[in-house]
Subunit: 459 residues, 2 copies
């Protein structure tokens, strides 16, 4: 490897490189350490070289060099994944895509961006284009809006704030196109349109280097923030369902949390009365009255309110003591809880249609103090779609498996987040021909070897 690396460095003359231990460590990690199971497996994985391209041409030179030298390569965006997406299992090169961060084009209702553009920066630039008037924004972003790149979100994300209106990124219409560079001695740039984008969607970056992404843009609305308290998890869940079902109330986030969770979220803890379930919502400013009516209907109270302008100052400029509330939703909940309780981890559960409240109540009862439900409300497939990223007070793998089995027996669908192997990622995978596309885009099998159980697959 040492000789190969020296040759590779020479091949990449003129492209920014880093080989110091601190950078190699930093750029070989993502948020896999949320999982006590993944942590020991991935903690010591290291790239041998970090490459920081600034253009597609540089990406193609890197891909060509890795192919020629048969050096493994792993593509990295913001490093915000939880399943080791950015961890180079076999060492070699990590490509940090952050330098490809340009806006390629913005047309009414659509934008094309280089893969390394960060989601928050995209929304900021769309705001700056608008001169104070109505504007475009990304339809959705994970809670890691500030760090996550659009390429990384396409490669390893699924849903986020905005999914309560727009569904998920694998759903029809959510991505317009992606450009992918193949890893070959003579790399090609392939443009995938419409459904073909599914070939690289949620493929963890193992079948080509995504260099550009085109997405429909949502028309922005002034998103006000609220923290709400409810007498019970069931009441909060009914509220979340009703708000998500209310087409007339424009919204960007609907999250509901077990009463045991707010105490684990330092800044929110003082806001929520003890024993109360919590909801975090973002609704259009103009709909504050309709929201207030709905909160009251479900016995809730508004314990924190921030205007859209203040919320955006917090998100875009870091103003104020309270971070943007979306940084307490999705898997940021786990991040905050880990700071208070290092033994916490999380699961991923999909709740059955029509049985959401019932299952939430049964889980609450069966696993009080151990599995703390955190529900994220989405719209998918023409209906309200409820999934959970519950906190789990971790005891052992055996107990985790026991909890998973019990939840599945109760009617929940569990997707295991405690694996870095793509084949085991469960229902999140699309049914697109990702493997066939890998044969074409990574014929030498150099893209993060080990991420797939076996590659090439046995005949």
């Amino acid at each position: 490897m040492t000789a190969d690396l020296a040759a590779l460095r020479a091949d990449l003359d003129g492209i920014a490189l880093a080989g110091d231990a601190a950078t190699l460590k930093l750029k070989s990690r993502d948020f896999f350490w949320f999982s006590p199971i993944l942590k020991p497996m991935l903690d010591d994985k290291r790239a041998d070289l970090v490459v920081l391209p600034k253009s597609k041409d540089e990406v193609m030179r890197i891909a060509a060099a890795c192919a020629r030298r048969r050096v493994p390569l792993t593509v990295r965006g913001g490093g915000t994944g939880n399943y080791g997406q950015a961890v180079p299992l076999a060492g070699g090169v990590v490509i940090d895509m952050g330098g490809l961060d340009r806006t390629v084009a913005v047309t009414p209702g659509a934008g094309r961006f280089e893969a390394g553009a960060r989601l928050l920066d995209i929304d900021k630039s769309l705001r700056d284009m608008a001169a104070g008037g109505p504007r475009w924004e990304l339809r959705f972003h994970p809670s890691t809006r500030k760090q996550a790149t659009i390429g990384g979100f396409i490669a390893g994300g699924a849903a986020g704030c905005g999914s309560c209106t727009w569904g998920q990124i694998a759903d029809p219409g959510a991505v317009i196109a992606a450009e992918v560079v193949t890893v070959e001695e003579e790399p090609r740039a392939i443009e995938l349109h419409g459904r073909d984008v599914l070939k690289v969607l949620h493929a963890y970056g193992v079948n080509g280097v995504i260099t550009e992404v085109a997405v429909p843009l949502a028309p922005w609305q002034p998103w006000a923030e609220r923290v709400l308290a409810f007498p019970s998890l069931a009441a909060a869940t009914r509220f979340g369902w009703a708000l998500t079902a209310a087409e007339g109330i424009a919204k960007k986030e609907v999250g509901v949390f077990d009463a045991a969770i707010p105490p684990l979220l330092k800044r929110l803890a003082p806001l929520v009365p003890a024993g109360k379930a919590m909801a975090i919502v973002m609704v259009a400013e103009a709909q504050r009255d309709a929201l207030a009516d709905l909160v009251a209907d479900h016995g809730g109270e508004i314990v924190y309110a921030r205007s859209a302008a203040e919320a955006e100052d917090a998100a875009f400029e870091g103003k104020g003591a309270m971070p943007p509330l979306y940084e307490y939703t999705w898997n940021h909940t786990t991040l905050h809880a880990l700071k208070v309780e290092p033994a916490v981890t999380f699961l991923q559960i999909r709740l059955p249609e029509g049985g959401e409240v019932d299952l939430a109540e049964r889980i609450e009862k069966a696993f009080a103090g151990e599995l703390l439900l955190h529900l994220e409300f989405q719209r998918r497939f023409g209906r309200v779609f409820v999934s959970s990223l519950p906190l789990l007070r971790y005891r052992s793998r055996a107990r985790l498996d026991e909890v998973v089995q019990a939840v599945e027996a109760m009617g929940g669908s569990v997707s295991d987040p405690h694996t870095y192997v793509l084949d085991d990622a469960g229902w999140k995978r699309t049914d697109a021909p990702q493997a066939e596309f890998k044969s074409l885009a990574d014929p030498l099998g150099l893209m993060n070897p080990g991420k797939l159980r076996a590659w090439p697959p046995a005949a």
Copy 2:
């Protein structure tokens, strides 16, 4: 009445009035004549005086004068209703609200307008404010966008283009506020907020004069138009459902039509191959590929396509030979068909959740050539919601009743459009205390007497 009228004219000195026979006829009618049952009942109803106020102060003077003189008054917007909303059953004064057409305020995501502002004019002015960039627009409009006023839509409308995304105007969050002037010797202006707006919503203007309306605004998207042809009504219905269920495809209109309907729509007839069911859709420009995929999935073909810019030129400037396609949807379908077949009328049917395709197929079979289904797809209550404004080849009231009963026996919910009596308007009514509000806003019972079966109700 003659003496009263002379006194009333004197009271209204300085306000524009009209008493000529042509104006009295014109302003005493709406589109009730779609119904062969309503036509003979309402054809000869006439106001004695038409009043054309330009301001809320003038409205208050008119209300005061009518109260003092005990003269009935009927409020009129664009006159686009189908149930005689604007027909003065007991004569007296018709107030044409068209002169109150100012924009009161536009803030991010919300607008407040005088009641007589026409929906198309509102959208044009919102476009003009935006200088070519992203902009706001009304969430929905009936097919009569050009003629209908926002006050009239609140008072007598229900749904329209945009309902496939935003639901209906009676749904939570759809109307922010309404200002209502009472009919008393000393009229008051009452501001209704949030749910209280339901008191005057779909009340046909019998419980106060709506003078201003505040609504959330939708962020505009560039709406491209398509006419689609499908091998069968079932295929078109499945397509319509799938498109409406696809959160990832931004859309403004999804209408589906029996194969027997396009021949009745002069400009569309040449586009749709004989025997093919039709769909008319408006989707965001950026989603043309996702739409094309979905059309192909259902065996359909695109037989007419127009860009968003061209579609808007047709709607806003009347450019091109083809009217805006939304003028073939909702009850405009009936209007066009009546020009070709004078004996056509319509019904209103709500299809059962999950049984839409099945009921459509059974109705098609049972009433081939007589009841021609025209489905409008909406999102309501967290789900896809399908209603129909089918064309009916009218034979007699008895046969109409027979068809209605049969459709109800098959699982459809029918709302009778062939009545001008508000009490009989069926499921479209809200459950708000409209009658109580009438006691307060129209204590003398002067607002279009006859519109309610009995007023004041027997104790």
